[in-house]
Amino acid sequence: MKILYGMQRPDEGEIRVNGKPVGFHTPADAIGAGIGMVHQHFMLADNLTVLENVVLGSEPRRGGLALDFAAARKKIREISDAYGLGVRPDVPVEDLGVGDRQRVEILKVLYRGARILILDEPTAVLVPHEVDELFDNLRGLVREGLTILFISHKLDEVLRVADEITVIRRGTTVATVNPKDVTSRKLAELMVGSELPSPETRESTVTDVVALSVRDLTVRTGDGRPVVDDVSFDIHKGEVLGIAGVEGNGQAELVEAIMGMRPCEAGALTLGGADISQWSTLKRRAGGIGYIPEDRHRHGLLLESPLWENRILGHQTRRPNVKGPWIDRAGARADTRRIVEEYDVRTPGIDVDAATLSGGNQQKLIVGREMSGDPVLLIASHPTRGVDIGAQAAIWDHLRTARAAGLAVLLISADLDELIGLSDTLKVILRGRIVADVDPANVTPEQLGSAMTGAGEGV
C-alpha cells in the first residue's frame, strides 16, 4: 500500500497503471498517475474550512499570487454533486462528524484528479449506519468508472462492498476470490491460514470480589465542559466490562482518569479496597493496573528503543526490570525473551527497535508486558485495533485466559463484535454518560450501534 502510494520503493517487481508500467518515487508521482489515498487517520486541518482543506497544496491561482477560491468552490460542488458526496465547501472541518470528514478526504483525492482510490481501513472509526452511507458513496464512485482499493480487516464489509477480494498474509498474496463464492468464515481462514478465531467467551468466570470500583467520576475539559459525566461502575475479578460508544464520547478521558493521567473533577476510585483517587500514575501501575493504550505509538512504546527497553516502560519500579535505583539489564532482557516466546512476538531478537515490528507484534509485546507482574485490573483500549487477524485471535486468547485466572478487564473498543463477544457486562457511553446497560448475550451489533448513537431506545 505504501509502495502503491509512492511512500516506499519496491525492491523488485513492477506496477502497471492502465497497462503502462510506472515507478513512483514520491506520493506526488502516484497522484500524477491518478492514484489517491484516503488514510485511516484523517489528515485534515480542523480550523480550516472544507474548501481550504481540499485545495491545500494544490491551490488554484489567479494572476500569479491570488487564490481563486471561486473556481475551487465551483469545482468542489461539481465533484460533490457528480458522486453524491453532499460536501458543503464552507463549513469548518472541526464542525463536521467523522463520516463527513471521511467524505472530505475522499473529495480531496478526487479534486486532485485521482481515478484510483486507496482506502485504508476506512470503516474503523465509523458506526454501522455511517458505514452504510460510505458504501453507498463508494458504489456511486464505482458507477462513475473509478477504481477502488478497499483495505480492511473487517470481512463482512469486504464481502459487502467488493467485486473482487485479494487476501494477503505476511506480505504474500494468498488467494484472489470472488465475494459471491466465499463466506466470511472461508475468507477468515484464508487470512489466518487455519481455523477461525472468534471472540466468544465460554462459561462465565465472574466472581463476587470487586476489583475496581468507580463512583460518580466526572472529568472536565479546560473550558469546564464535562467529558466524563458522573460515571459509576464496578468490575469484579474475572469479569470483562465492555464500554461501547462512538469514539470521542469520553472513553479516552475515562481511561486516562482511571490511570491518573488526567485529573478528575469529582468521584472516587477504589482498587481492591484501597482508595486510589489520589495516587500517581506510577503508584496505580505498581498497584496492579495494566494498561493497553488506545494509541500504542503515542502511549505504549518508545519506537526508537529496543524491545527490552520497551519491556521496562511503565514497569520501571518493579522487578525484574530494576534493582533499587539501578536498571537490571539482565533481568529485563531475560523477561523480554520470555514475553517474545510466550506471546509469540515475531522478531529476530530483543535488540531491534520497536518501530521495526508490525503493528500486531508491537501489540502482542504490549499485551505481554501489561500481563506481567500479576495485574489486578487490565485496561484494554482498542486492544486489537489495526492488528492482523492472527494477532487478534492471540490477544483475545490471552484476555480470556487472564480473565479465567481472575483478572478484571475494562474493555473499550470500536469493534462491536469484539465487545459483544468478550464482555460479561456491557455499558454504552454517550457524551460522557453511561446511557445504557446491555446484555452481551442477546444483542446484535446493529442494536448496539443505534444505542451508541443515541438513536435506539430501551435496548
Binding site: D11, R170, G171, V192, G193, S194, M259, G260, M261, S280, T281, L282, K283, R284, R285, A286, Y291, P293, R298, H299, G300, L301, L302, L303, E304, S305, E309, I312, L313, G314, H315, Q316, T317, V322, P325, W326, I327, R329, D344, R346, T347, P348, V352, D353, T356, L357, G390, A394
Partner: protein, 376 residues
C-alpha cells in the same frame, strides 16, 4: 520532523561500524569544504592543514588543548543532559558565568582555609548554576514558558547581575582590570604534569571532567532515573502513560544541567586565573551546544568533539604565519557540525532501511517453522 530532531540530538543509536562511519565521513567532508574555501581565498590548503597538524602535535600545544578541552567537555555535558530529554538549555552560558562570579567572590574572601576553600568554591558554583537553571525549569512547568526563551533571557540577566556583583561587591581594581579578589594560594587546584616534554601542566580538573563523563553515562544508561529521562525525551506521551512525572523530570533535569554548568568555569577559576575578571572566558556555553551536537550526546563522542574544537581554537593563530585569516577555523568548525548532522542523517536512513529489510527477511524465512504453526 520530530524524528529528525531526535536524531539531531542523538537520542537514536547507530550500531556497529555505522557509529564510526558517520563522524569520519563528516570530518573528511569538512576538510574538503575548508580546502575549497582556502583555494578560493587563494591560499594553499595542504600547507594550512600541515601547519595545524604540526602545531597540534607539539607537547606544549597538546597540554593547552587538553586544558581548553576540559572546559568545553564539561559545557557539552551540561548541554547534553538537557538534550537527552528534549530540553534546550541555551542558558548554560549564563549559568556558568554567574556561578563563577559568586564562587570567585566567596573563594576570594577566603572564609575557610585551604582545601576546604576549594570544596566551598565548587559547591557554591554547583548550587548557583543549579538554582539559576531551576528558574527556567519552574517557569516551564508552572507557566508553560519555553525553556529556550527563558534561558536566553536569563543569560542576559546573568551578564548584568555578574557585572553588578563584581563592580559593587566583590571587585578590586588591579591595574586596569576590575575583578574579584584572587583566591589565596592554598586553595589552588594543582596541575598535573601529564604531557612529557613541556613545563605546561594539565589542569587538575581533567580528573573531575573524566569522572563527570563516566557519571553521565552511568546515570543515563544504568539507572531508573536515566531511563525515565531518556523515555521522556523520546516520547513524552509514552512517559506520562508509564507513570513518569514529566513536570518533576523537567525541573530535576534543568537543575542537573545547571549544576554541571556551574562547574564549567572551575578549571579556569581554581587552576588558571584564580579570579573572575573581564578576561574570564565567555561563550563557553554556546561552544558546549556545538560540541554536544558534534558528539551526539555520547560521553566519548563529546570528549573527541571537545578536543577537536579545542585543537582548532588553539592552533588558529598559527595560520596567521601563513597569511591565512584565523577565522577560517570558525568556518571549519561550523562545517564540521553541519556535516556531522547530515552524515548521521544519511547513515540513519540507511540503517532504518537495512534493519527493516533484515527483520522482514528473517521473519519471511521460517514460514514452515514450528513457530509459525504455534501462532495460528
Amino acid at each position: 520532523m520530530n524524528g529528525f530532531v531526535d536524531r539531531l540530538l542523538g537520542r537514536v543509536r547507530l550500531g556497529g561500524w555505522l557509529a564510526v562511519a558517520a563522524p569520519v565521513i563528516a570530518v573528511a567532508f569538512a576538510v574538503l569544504i575548508t580546502s575549497v574555501v582556502l583555494l578560493i581565498a587563494g591560499s594553499d590548503p595542504v600547507g594550512a592543514f600541515t601547519t595545524l597538524a604540526e602545531y597540534g602535535t607539539q607537547p606544549r600545544s597538546m597540554a593547552m588543548i587538553l586544558n581548553t578541552g576540559v572546559m568545553y567537555y564539561i559545557s557539552a555535558l551540561a548541554v547534553a543532559v538537557g538534550f537527552r530529554m528534549n530540553l534546550f538549555n541555551i542558558g548554560v552560558d549564563g549559568q556558568y558565568r554567574l556561578a563563577a562570579v559568586v564562587a570567585a567572590g566567596l573563594g576570594g574572601a577566603a572564609v575557610v582555609p585551604g582545601v576546604l576553600n576549594i570544596v566551598l568554591v565548587i559547591v557554591v558554583a554547583v548550587v548557583v548554576g543549579a538554582l539559576w537553571a531551576a528558574i527556567a525549569g519552574l517557569l516551564r512547568v508552572y507557566r508553560g514558558v519555553s525553556e529556550v526563551i527563558s534561558t536566553i533571557m536569563l543569560n542576559a540577566i546573568a551578564t548584568g547581575l555578574g557585572s553588578w556583583l563584581v563592580s559593587e561587591h566583590f571587585g578590586v581594581l588591579t591595574g586596569n582590570d576590575l575583578g574579584t579578589r584572587p583566591i589565596p594560594d592554598d586553595a589552588h587546584m594543582p596541575g598535573i604534569p601529564l604531557i612529557a616534554g613541556t613545563p605546561v601542566l594539565v589542569n587538575g580538573f581533567i580528573v573531575v571532567a573524566v569522572l563527570l563523563g563516566i557519571a553521565y553515562w552511568v546515570v543515563l544508561n544504568r539507572t531508573r532515573f536515566g531511563f525515565e529521562l531518556r523515555a521522556t525525551g523520546k516520547s513524552e506521551s509514552a512517559a506520562v502513560a508509564s507513570g513518569v512525572s514529566v513536570k518533576k523530570m523537567i525541573v530535576v533535569t534543568m537543575v542537573m544541567s545547571g549544576a554541571v554548568a556551574g562547574l564549567i568555569g572551575m578549571p579556569e577559576l581554581l587552576g588558571a586565573s584564580y579570579k573572575y575578571s573581564n578576561n574570564f572566558p565567555a561563550g563557553l556555553g554556546f561552544t558546549g551546544i556545538a560540541i554536544a551536537l558534534l558528539g551526539r550526546n555520547n560521553p566519548v563522542g563529546m570528549a573527541v568533539g571537545a578536543l577537536l574544537w579545542s585543537f582548532l581554537d588553539n592552533s588558529s593563530n598559527q595560520l596567521q604565519l601563513l597569511d591565512i585569516s584565523k577565522e577560517i577555523v570558525q568556518i571549519m568548525q561550523g562545517v564540521v557540525v553541519l556535516s556531522v548532522i547530515i552524515a548521521y542523517e544519511l547513515v540513519h536512513r540507511y540503517r532504518i532501511v537495512a534493519e527493516q529489510r533484515r527483520v522482514s527477511r528473517e521473519l519471511a524465512a521460517p514460514q514452515e517453522a514450528p513457530k509459525a504453526e504455534a501462532a495460528a
